[in-house]
Symmetry: C2
Subunit: 304 residues, 2 copies
């Protein structure tokens, strides 16, 4: 596989987080940052994103140490995207206190790599941006395109989102987003409707309640890895998606069994992310710890 075989398009951000366990003012965040860091345990990706001139070198080197390619991250005049969020007692629900779009208002990603990527993950950004990127890459040369989205785009850009759905192989969303997108309360029916709009594979994340994978006619349902305490859920979904894509790129396969393992790995790596603030837990994480927890996970959800 070539150097740019896995490309992740998404945000790089400076977050301010409040949880019942504490408060941090400058935490490295963003969908692309979490997804790429998680993917790097399996296959180092390239990030396509935009940051401001204030983007800390410390964040940059954190990713570069993981062999993540940042040559497609543009630095624009102005400030990096900032998100301020709060979690109450129910850590499943984030309350957005403030969003400073900053340089991201100007996000028109350009792919100038020598090769077309084989695996592409369009993390949660404006569907217009997702389409711009798809336009730049000739579809027949990409093996696999996955996308994420969120309530804001479902409500404001449903028509553009339909165009995205028609051009991707996999959509990864949470349960609320799947219901909003399809107006179906049953997640099985929601997934079938989404498949009807394009992607053969739909992954529905249910946070602490696990995940459902719909792969053509087949499906897998897994619980979350049970944790005694969740410290900061920020980035869990992006970690999950990034791990999925990293694993698929490493295996270079997208059949059902490979996907099941990818979903299990995604669950496990996300369970590490939420143990500390931001990327703190991933920073010290090793592949052998991931594999050890995967084995525990297999044990605790196995019917003998």
């Amino acid at each position: 596989m070539g150097k740019n075989s896995l490309v992740i398009v998404g945000t790089m951000a400076i977050d301010a987080l409040e949880t019942p366990f504490g408060k941090e003012d400058s935490v490295f965040g963003g969908s692309a940052s979490y997804a790429a860091y998680a993917a790097s345990f399996f296959y180092p990706p390239s990030i396509v994103s935009i940051v401001g001139e204030d983007f800390p070198n410390e964040y940059r080197s954190l990713l570069e140490k993981r062999q993540i390619d940042l040559s497609h991250v543009e630095v624009h005049a102005g400030h990096t995207f900032r998100w301020r969020g709060r979690y109450g007692a129910d850590l499943n629900v984030a309350e957005t206190l403030e969003t400073q779009i900053n340089v991201l208002g100007d996000l028109h990603p350009r792919w100038n790599g020598k090769q077309t990527p084989e695996y592409l993950f369009l993390a949660n950004v404006d569907p217009k941006v997702q389409l711009e990127l798809l336009d730049q890459l000739e579809r027949p040369r990409i093996k696999f395109v996955a996308a994420d989205t969120m309530n804001f785009w479902i409500q404001s850009s449903r028509a553009l989102l339909s165009k995205v759905l028609a051009r991707i192989d996999m959509l990864v969303v949470n349960d609320g987003e799947a219901r909003l997108l399809t107006r179906e309360s049953s997640l099985i029916r929601a997934a079938r409707k989404i498949q009807g709009e394009g992607p053969n594979i739909v992954v529905i994340k249910k946070g602490e309640h696990g995940v459902m994978l719909f792969h053509g006619e087949r499906f897998l349902v897994l619980p979350a890895y049970p944790l005694e305490e969740v410290f900061d859920p920020t980035g869990a979904g992006d970690t999950f998606g990034g791990t999925l894509l990293g694993y698929l790129a490493r295996e270079d396969k997208t059949d059902f069994d490979t996907f099941c393992r990818a979903v299990a790995y995604g669950t496990v790596v996300a369970s590490f992310t939420v143990e500390k603030f931001g990327l703190d837990r991933l920073k010290s994480l090793t592949l052998s710890e991931i594999n050890e927890r995967l084995n525990q996970f297999r044990q605790i959800c196995k019917i003998p």
Copy 2:
């Protein structure tokens, strides 16, 4: 095993149900009815309960056809316990519209069987009644005692409930009940606290989100069997508990692996219960349908 090896203590009721899919005025319900019917697929139990003179013969013969022993169901002057409930769009939450305690106000169950039961399930009734029954049965001769409870008793009779907990082998509750009982938001910590009060085994039912089994130090986490539509969730929890006990009584074992299979069977039989009103789906259910769905369940939650 003797004739009365599995005894289920609980309510027998006439329910009136409203769901988004329809309304029924007289539905055979009650915790003992669902639990015993479900158990009968594995091991026919005896029911200990009280009904009024209006208790329909039709309900009685429905249970007797399943070899369920009703000789410890007392008929008192007056009306059978009645519950009227409604489910909105969120089928996980039942709203109680009316409760007519009727003859159950007088529930002092008597065990006059020739043998002490080997497996005892104290379904959701007043902890005072659960204790009365435990007093009548010499503990050393019972192999296994399980109990269920509900928010009402947790709030009104916490001290009595502690006495129950000290004398049972297993508590089966839902996630909200486990949290209320222990004032712990983490279900793992809640289960450990409950174990600390007595039962070595704690089963936490999470409705459509599955189930957690804590068996000494070991545990199992399973998703629910995914259904396209839930029609009437009444009795799902009691079906789950009854199946669990029926399977344990049939196998006459309570080790971890047997328990894991019992929990999987409970999940599967409960998934049938919610497909129709009341006991309607269980009435036509066969053990081979149960085994077939169990095999599907194993497939859809297996990490290859």
